[in-house]
């Protein structure tokens, strides 16, 4: 099963700390390779916290570890970082700013590809 969500990337305190422990550090990598989804969405996908999911957008794809988050069912949140950036397009609509928030993504179980 796959679900369509609106992807938001953003700051978390662990991601902020990870900037200074180094982008190779366990803290940074664990935090930035995590996706927060609503509990009902996790259930719908048949995955639990800690399981891996494949996230695809029009610009790229990546594997993320699930975390239960206080997000609406149609929203997924990924902390800013190298992993999340692979899902973001480099177009800026003439503003200089890419769409780091509010783009469409499809999330499915990693095993299902």
């Amino acid at each position: 099963m796959k679900i369509e969500v609106v992807l938001i990337t953003g700051r978390t305190i662990k991601q902020g700390m990870g900037i200074y422990t180094g982008k190779d550090s366990v803290l940074y990598r664990q935090e930035t390779e995590t996706i927060e989804l609503n509990a009902a969405v996790l259930e719908g996908l048949g995955v639990e916290e800690g399981d891996r999911v494949l996230v695809k957008t029009a610009f790229g794809q990546g594997v993320f570890t699930c975390r239960k988050g206080e997000v609406p069912e149609n929203v997924a949140f990924i902390p800013y970082g190298l992993a999340g950036n692979s899902l973001i397009g480099a177009g800026t609509s003439g503003s200089g700013m890419p769409s780091y928030k509010g783009i469409t993504a499809v999330v499915g179980r990693y095993e299902d590809g």
Partner: protein, 440 residues
């Protein structure tokens, strides 16, 4: 020898808390008092064992500098980028270097509050200092920002929890939070507006209508009910002194600068009824300074190009992500920023394809892609300088440690001297220098 340095300015985020106590032993930071989790991590990891690198191999500092000069002097269109985690003296040196080389210069602003700056140019901004927030503000709006995680001491020092002269602590302030997610900041709000993704513009427009005594069509907007919108407009109007803080939720969502323009227009409308100010929640320690320095030296806050010998401004054309995506630049100089870890994958990858020079105290993700890496002494740790808080108040930062490398400013000055010797500079004909009375 052990010592304690008091009243240290933390340069992690735009709050620039100036009360840190840093404990130093044998030129190493051993403890950070009064800080937050972010500042403690930053200062306890301040000393990183790094070496200059050319093509990934260890080199002497002078050899790396020479290799960097070669790249910069031979670039046809250089991008100078970053500047938000260094002091304003280094930012000024970067502008001078960009001008000498006819380069494009852009700061991390373009991927954080740049759209807010465009909106300021369109609408204008009534603003105030964080001191006024602390002493006077009884209604605080946090729109699309999450200070509990991104600016952890903001509430205690300047806003929600601060005890001011005219307004006491939390009980005397009303807090409105607008966000797509129920963040840690939203959990403590008196009124939480849970927006639909990309619903900001619609909600701000509806609030403007209600505040101006007009009705809205339909039963709500942007994920909010009519009742929620009415409650919010009432609460906003009841302020004696309101302050509207905003973050990436506005600048990174669809509409970017239009979202912020609408927020600024809302605050302009509110000023017909009561006193309101706006402060962007600046992320990096001195990103506000980068806009100030660029504006006073070139007339423009970011996305500036010097290829014609005078500064031109065009976000969307001279912004870093656009220049890289389109392949418009053939070399890059990155100072005190890590675009390889913050730009969309496609734009970041270009930094590994073109010759890139990195000046950074840390061996960053961008340094790993770079042709030349020049380690530096970080401003506020290994070098003194000036930084600007999110409310544009300048603060001096101290040198705390003796680090083995020069400061960002010193390195940028050395590079400029180097390229001037290496190639005929375009500086003599520079319009900005003539206008500033320094053209020779």
């Amino acid at each position: 020898m052990a010592k304690v340095v008091k009243n240290v300015v933390c340069t992690f985020c735009g709050s620039l808390c100036d009360d840190l106590e840093i404990h130093i032993e044998n030129d190493n930071i051993t403890a950070v008092k009064k800080g937050c989790a972010l500042s403690r991590t930053k200062y306890l990891n301040a000393r990183e064992e790094v070496v200059p690198l050319v093509e990934g191999k260890e080199a002497s500092f002078s050899a790396a500098l020479e290799a960097a000069v070669e790249i910069l002097a031979h670039a046809r269109h250089l991008l100078v980028y970053g500047l938000s985690s260094t002091c304003s003296e280094a930012q000024a040196a970067a502008v001078a270097l960009a001008e000498t080389l006819g380069a494009s210069i852009d700061s991390t602003s373009s991927v954080c509050h740049g759209p807010g700056t465009l909106a300021k140019q369109l609408v204008g901004i009534p603003t105030c200092t964080l001191g006024e927030v602390k002493n006077r503000a009884d209604v605080l709006v946090f729109w699309g920002c999450n200070p509990v995680e991104a600016h952890p001491r903001h509430f205690a020092r300047y806003s929600v929890l601060a005890k001011g002269l005219k307004v006491g602590g939390r009980r005397e302030r009303k807090v409105v939070v607008a966000d797509v997610r129920k963040t840690a900041t939203a959990r403590g709000a008196d009124l939480f507006l849970q927006l639909e993704p990309n619903g900001d513009f619609e909600v701000l427009t509806a609030l403007r209508a209600l505040i101006n005594g007009k009705d809205i069509v339909g039963e709500g907007a942007g994920g909010l009910t009519r009742a929620q919108l009415e409650e919010c407009s009432r609460l906003l109007k009841e302020a004696s002194y309101g302050v509207f803080f905003f973050g990436m939720g506005l600048t990174m969502s669809r509409g970017t600068h239009y979202n912020v323009s609408q927020a600024l227009a809302l605050v302009r409308d509110l000023n017909k009824y009561t006193r309101y100010s706006v402060i962007p929640m600046r992320g990096h320690g001195n990103v506000a300074g980068s806009e100030n320095v660029l504006a006073w030296q070139t007339g423009y806050p970011f996305a500036v190009n010097f290829s014609r010998g005078y500064p031109r401004y065009n976000p969307g054309e001279f912004t870093a992500v656009d220049l890289l995506r389109r392949g418009d630049v053939d070399a890059a100089l990155v100072v005190a920023a890590d675009p390889a870890a913050t730009f969309p994958g496609r734009a970041a990858a270009v930094l590994g394809e073109i010759p890139t020079v990195v000046i950074d105290p840390h061996y960053s993700a961008t340094a790993k892609l770079a042709r030349v890496y020049l380690p530096s002494a970080a401003a506020g740790i290994g070098a003194a300088g000036t930084v600007y808080r999110m409310d544009m108040v300048p603060l001096p930062v101290k040198k705390l440690l003796n680090l083995p490398y020069p400061s960002d400013k010193e390195i940028l000055d050395m590079l400029r001297e180097g390229v001037k010797k290496c190639s005929g500079s375009r500086e003599a004909g520079s319009t900005t220098r003539k206008m500033a009375g320094t053209g020779k």
